[in-house]
């Protein structure tokens, strides 16, 4: 069986090419793969497409990737007022941005994971989100068509992994992570702890191992490894 455990975040993100399409988990400061993000920045890649809920908090979370011009295209729900590097790059015209309602962002990711070719929803009908989208009426309700969102990589954060890659999450650090884990060709996870296979209760596993390709253990719950 192929070894999934990597020694360092840098080893876990090696091979990401410029122009790659990457999903990043995290919401409200919780569940961001901060160590992977820092390692990705150190690779020097550019022209990335980021699929994410928000776009950084100062230099933290995705902030550093915008500060260093790693990202060209953004698909996000709430970039956020604290995403200063994103906002500066956006104001300078360096980025494309597609804003997506948050629940629809989830479902588009899930659709890709599930092999669905899209879906209709009333969310966004009559709003700016509708521009350029197919609209249909179902039972008198206006609805928009949403296509799936897949990615080359998902960078996620979990609490514990076993050596196979089964994952459990901690509290609200779960957020987008299990969804993104299922929608990428290569899912890279940073975890607080790696335990032996068989130690995680099968009833409690949120992400089964076949969705997970690379695992790296990092210290602490909420830390950022500085280069």
């Amino acid at each position: 069986m192929r070894q999934k455990l990597y020694d360092t975040p840098d080893a876990a993100v090696a091979g990401v090419a410029s122009g790659a399409r990457i999903m990043f988990g995290g919401f409200g400061g919780a569940g961001f793969p901060n160590n992977l993000i820092q390692a990705l920045d150190r690779t020097g890649v550019g022209g990335l497409t980021a699929i994410t809920n928000n776009c950084g908090s100062g230099d933290g979370e995705l902030g550093i990737l915008f500060q260093h011009d790693r990202i060209r295209n953004v698909i996000a729900s709430f970039p956020g007022p604290q995403a200063v590097h994103f906002q500066a790059a956006y104001a300078a015209g360096k980025l494309t941005l597609e804003l997506v309602p948050q629940g629809i962002l989830c479902e588009r990711i899930r659709a890709a994971a599930a092999g669905l070719l899209g879906f209709y929803s009333a969310v966004g009908a009559g709003t700016e989100v509708a521009v350029g989208r197919e609209e249909r009426v179902f039972d008198g309700r206006r609805a928009l068509f949403y296509e799936p969102l897949a990615a080359d990589y998902a960078f996620i954060k979990a609490w514990k992994a076993d050596a196979l890659g089964n994952l459990i999450y901690r509290k609200t650090a779960r957020n987008f992570n299990p969804l993104m884990a299922m929608a990428a060709k290569t899912t890279v996870v940073e975890v607080d702890e790696v335990v032996p296979v068989g130690e995680l209760d099968p009833e409690m596993i949120v992400t089964p191992f076949l969705f997970v390709h690379r695992i790296v253990r990092v210290k602490g719950i909420y830390n950022v490894v500085q280069a």
Binding site: P101, N175, Y222
Partner: protein, 226 residues
């Protein structure tokens, strides 16, 4: 235009909290709705839902007891109450969009008399803007209560005939609680249900762009002293 005292933000929240019933599941948005949890009527239990994956969210964490893996949608460390659960973000939004969640309360910029709702973007605002959960929550809400000031800072009425601000969701608002009134969205338009103490329905109408339907005597909003 009258300069009589209006309800405070806290008094709006306290009035909105009286919409809640024992066992309700409730999502609270940014702004005034965020204050509602402080005013839940005594003797009932409601289960607050957070769009980042909590049902059964409790008060803010006490200083020194923060857990940054347990935050609300505004990044504030919170707690959970007995019976709480955690789930991923798709389940959180499915609860609202799929009409499973009992009550949603959101802050607002404009509500139109047909129930159209604008709250996510001020026209001409700088920066990227951001949608967040508002469109999903509003478009699917089983019962959507908007809590906001009756007029913008420049005096512009926020209860309007048609929204001029970017729409969040169409025909989704059920009730509006403001610093001047409680208003329901009905098939005929806005129905005035309560007015702020000291205000007459005619005075509230003067501060409202859309027509308010008044039937019979309109009671005053019961408020505790500010």
């Amino acid at each position: 235009m009258s300069s009589k005292p209006r309800l405070t933000r806290e008094q709006i929240a306290a009035r909105a909290a009286r919409e809640l019933h024992d066992g309700d599941t409730v999502n609270l948005g940014f702004g005034i709705p965020n204050l509602v949890s402080e005013y839940v009527p005594a003797g009932i239990t409601v289960y607050f839902q957070s769009e980042n994956g909590i049902l059964g969210m409790g008060p803010r964490a006490r200083p020194g007891e923060e857990d940054y893996d347990l935050v609300d949608a505004m990044k504030v460390p919170v707690t959970v109450i007995p019976g709480a659960s955690y789930f991923d973000q798709s389940v959180a939004h499915l609860m609202a969009r799929g009409r499973h969640l009992g009550v949603s309360m959101l802050g607002g910029l404009q509500v139109a008399e047909n129930g159209d709702f604008a709250n996510w973007k001020v026209p001409g605002a700088k920066g990227s803007g951001g949608i967040g959960g508002a469109m999903d929550i509003a478009s699917g809400a089983r019962r959507l209560i908007v809590c906001m000031e009756h007029n913008a800072k420049n005096g512009a009425p926020k209860l309007v005939r048609r929204c001029t601000y970017p729409i969040t969701a169409l025909a989704c608002v059920h009730r509006v609680v403001t610093d001047l009134a409680v208003v329901d969205v009905t098939p005929q338009g806005f129905a005035l249900r309560e007015v702020a103490p000291g205000w007459t329905p005619a005075e509230v109408q003067e501060h409202t762009e859309a027509r308010l339907i008044v039937s019979g005597a309109v009671p005053q909003i019961a408020v505790a002293p500010a």
